[in-house]
Amino acid sequence: MNRNAISRAGLGRVLTAAAVFALASTGPAAAKESRSYVLAYFGHAVASKEGDCQGGLNPKLDIQYAKNMQALGMPGAEIEKLMKNFGDEGQSWDKNKIGQIMNTRARVNGEAENTFAHPAAVADANLKYVTGKVAKGFNLDGAADADAFADPDTGEKGIDNQVFRALGCVDPFRGTLASGTAFWLFMWMAEKDSMPAWLITVEGDDLSKDGPVDVILSRAIEVTKFNANGEARADMTYRQDPDPRMKANVFKGEIKGGIVNVASQANLHMMQDQLTFPNFDLANFHLRLTSDTEGRMEGLIGGYQPIEQVYFALGQGGLAAENNYSPELPGMYHLMRKLADGPADAQGQRWSISTAYHIKAVPAFMAVKDTGATAKASENTANR
């Protein structure tokens, strides 16, 4: 059992003491118990360990850029001359020769094109990837393949998380669930105050007991609200975005041993933030969330995500993004293409890749429709 899981009795205590309930529907079916949460953190699920990248981590930017220039056929003397000025932040763009070269190192029909818009047209830098044996995530294909990871905490075999494998030898993408990665800590800080909040609702006959549940993911109109101490504010009321594109995110799952699980063959489609994932898709959607004594949820979501989505979350920042958190963004694209393990198309090409995201959520209310009358506390909220 996951060490973070709480006992069944513990979940029952959580439900009566701290969890909050949403009664979004008022018809006869409203007998179901319903609990809602708002997303409080989002980032790649990682489990980096010392020595899990054979031959060490990928090189720093200056070394990689020198290699890239070499790959472009530039003479060594010129590279050496240019690299003498590397990192001079006082340079304007017209004098930033290295930047100009790196920004257009894609070649389409022999013409220089934007590197980050055309990653497949950039020579593969053959970056290193994770060769370690552990990762966080889900066994998406049900197989315990020899090349799959094992969960570092539970020992579960067959964990599919090729995004971790592809990105995990670049320093800002390394970390653990507890620490997060530098990349995602930055991205979450940047988007949390502007991205419409994600809502997670768990519905079942009796959420204090093991049994089948529905897990619904939706988006709010409001952004997540935060406390003065920076933590997501619990017990806020959010209005659900009626956008029909996210209506289908209802998944059959179960509560088992106090853990909410979804192991679905269906697809999740969410909309997030322009900064990272304008569209966020996970095929074979999986979810595993545990609850603490304050009613907060923490765990993983995962599935097969289009490589294009994963790449452009990194690559749309262009040269600045590459300078900040990756020595070789197209190289990461190439790695993901090589390591892709999603379903193959008719040509045998795999365009999606297994991944997992670490999420945290706090109790929230889903707004009921305002009828204009004085609202009255629902029976559930009064007796919580």
């Binding site: 909050v20 309930f21 949403a22 009664l23 109109i221 409001e222 609200k225 406390n227 003065a228 101490n229 933590e231 504010r233 619990a234 017990d235 806020m236 009321t237 959010y238 209005r239 209310f365 889903m366 707004a367 009921v368 429709k369 305002d370 009828t371 009358a373 004085t374 609202a375 009255k376 506390a377 629902s378 029976e379 909220t381 009064a382 007796n383 919580r384």
Partner: protein
């Protein structure tokens, strides 16, 4: 015989005194410095809500539980005068800038670079009546117009010249102070009463918390406020105005000392949901609750201690852990929704609202003592002595004490000291009834793992929790009695002497009217004593010279 208003304000050595040109023709009145809220309202009423007020006001002073009483006993320091001057210049500049002058001026000057006495007179007499709460005399208008002309001549700009004159009016004592001038009282030989302008000012600030409107000034000028019929007519008109709610709000904001919310700070680690926005919203919640209860048809003041109805924002709802109906358009900010707590919800009345429990707590913990003290002093008009200077509070403050796990246990241990026991016996039982609400306003049933005991007794009546305390207060006669006392003091600007017969009569009328606050306000406004400057009052005012 009607006496001319001769009260003059002299700024001497940085302090302001009420006096006269000479000691012989001294006729004092009551002067109350405009509170921050009143200053803001008068500016908005005169020039519209778009005029921004920048600057720092002197802190309002609370005496006998009320800022309105304190306002009658404060002066101006040279520093605050400088602040008022800066605010005045800023307001005057905005009023007469290119964007606003078209709507603010009732006329167009013949030339933008030369004086226009007729146009200036029109503007200054209209604005002056609103700012000074009375029509300007012809001499005053002539003086202001001359000032404007002189200034215009110097700066070669009509609007700038007028702006300088307006700024000087905004720093005039007649604006910064509500000067309630008096005249001989024919019904009380040797005594004084407020004159027409004084009556209009008192009435308007009492019922509307703002300056008299044109109709009230007209009635005052015609002497209609001197007749019971004329007075009744104006009061009836004013009571029917939506501005009555402003007056009710202002009174309860003062009486409940809700301005204290501005100073509430909480430990963000212990009470993460409580932030600066909550201080504003919690105060507003309580005011909205009270106004809704007491201004409802046949509204009973005592129900503010028992009502399940309130108003919430999403932020407050998160503190109360309740679901809020919410249907604002996309992008709309948080807004207020009426809300009714379930019958079995522990919250009822204003005492369990975030404002009261957080304001009367410490930054890191609740305080039954502060809460009990506030209940005694604010709602029951009692005085609780300050603790002796050498009291040891160690046990009370030690919330992680392994032996005394709840506030009740800690206070019991603390009150072993006989010096402390007397007061704590008086104030703690009521405060302990609210211990289900922590220092951040959230509901709890246990402290350090021990169930919280909220039972107690007040005036021989037992209760088991905060809601029970609310019901006990609802039925206790000291509650409406204190309200009458506070409302009277609020209107008069002074605390009436104990057991004054007319105040006792108001208490009886309040009970007869079903504890309806607007009815009480009306009764008070119709009482001749409300406009009477008693010898005591005159003496007090004279002593400030």
């Amino acid at each position: 015989m009607k006496l001319p208003v001769k009260a003059a304000i002299l700024c001497v050595a940085g302090t302001l005194s009420i006096g006269a040109a000479s000691a012989d023709d001294l006729i004092p009145g009551v002067a109350r410095r405009l509170t921050t809220a009143q200053y803001t309202r008068v500016i908005a009423d005169t020039f519209g809500p778009t005029i921004k007020i920048g600057g720092r006001f002197d802190p309002d002073v609370r005496i006998d539980g009320l800022i309105e009483v304190g306002a009658a006993q404060v002066s101006l320091s040279s520093t605050s005068l400088a602040q008022y001057d800066a605010m005045a210049r800023s307001i005057a500049t905005q009023v007469l800038n290119e964007e606003n002058r078209v709507t603010m001026l009732p006329c167009q000057p013949a030339s933008a670079t030369a004086a226009d006495d007729a146009c200036a007179a029109k503007f200054l007499s209209r604005v002056g009546a609103s700012l000074f709460r009375r029509p300007l005399t012809p001499v005053e208008i002539a003086h202001q117009v001359k000032t404007a002309a002189t200034a215009t001549e110097k700066v070669k700009d009509f609007y700038q010249g007028l702006s300088l004159t307006l700024a000087s009016m905004l720093t005039a004592p007649e604006f910064l102070f509500r000067i309630e001038s008096v005249e001989a009282d024919p019904a009380n030989k040797g005594g004084y009463r407020l004159d027409d302008a004084g009556k209009a000012t008192r009435l308007s600030f009492f019922l509307w918390d703002g300056a008299p409107d044109a109709e009230l000034l007209r009635a005052a000028q015609k002497g209609e406020l001197d007749t019971p019929r004329g007075l009744d007519k104006q009061i009836t008109r004013m009571m029917a105005s939506p501005r009555l709610k402003d007056g009710v709000r202002a009174f309860f904001d003062d009486m409940l000392q809700l301005a204290g919310m501005e100073d509430v700070m909480k430990d963000g680690t212990l009470f993460p949901k409580f932030n600066a926005q909550m201080t504003t919203e919690a105060r507003e919640q309580t005011l909205r609750t009270i106004v809704a209860v007491v201004t409802a048809p046949k509204g009973d003041y005592r129900e503010i201690f028992t009502t399940k109805k309130t108003f919430l924002t999403a932020g407050l709802a998160s503190i109360y852990k309740v679901q809020l109906p919410f249907d604002a358009p996309i992008g709309a900010p948080d807004y207020w929704k009426p809300y009714e707590f379930a019958q079995d919800d522990p919250r009822a009345g204003i005492l369990m609202q975030t404002s009261f429990v957080t304001m009367n707590s410490h930054p890191g913990r609740s305080s039954p003592t502060l809460r009990g003290k506030a209940l005694r002093e604010v709602l029951l008009c009692q005085k609780v002595p300050a603790p002796p200077a050498d009291v040891n509070f160690t046990i009370v403050q030690d919330t992680s004490n392994p032996i005394y796990k709840t506030a009740r246990e800690r206070l019991k241990a603390h009150a072993v000291n006989p010096v402390c026991a007397g007061c704590h016996k008086l104030i703690d039982p009521m405060g302990l009834a609210l211990e289900n609400f922590d220092g951040g306003g959230s509901y709890r049933t246990a402290e350090n793992g021990v169930k919280i005991d909220t039972s107690g007794e007040f005036d021989g009546v037992k209760f088991t929790d905060g809601a029970g305390l609310g019901r006990v207060l609802h039925d206790n006669q000291a509650i409406p009695s204190c309200l009458v006392q506070r409302l009277t003091a609020y209107g008069l600007g002074r605390t009436p002497a104990k057991n004054e017969a007319w105040v006792e009569a108001l208490k009886a009328a309040f009970a007869k009217d079903g504890y309806n606050v607007p009815a009480l306000m009306r009764s008070l406004a119709l009482t001749p004593e409300f406009y009477r400057a008693t010898p005591t009052e005159i003496k007090a005012a004279s002593n400030t010279h």
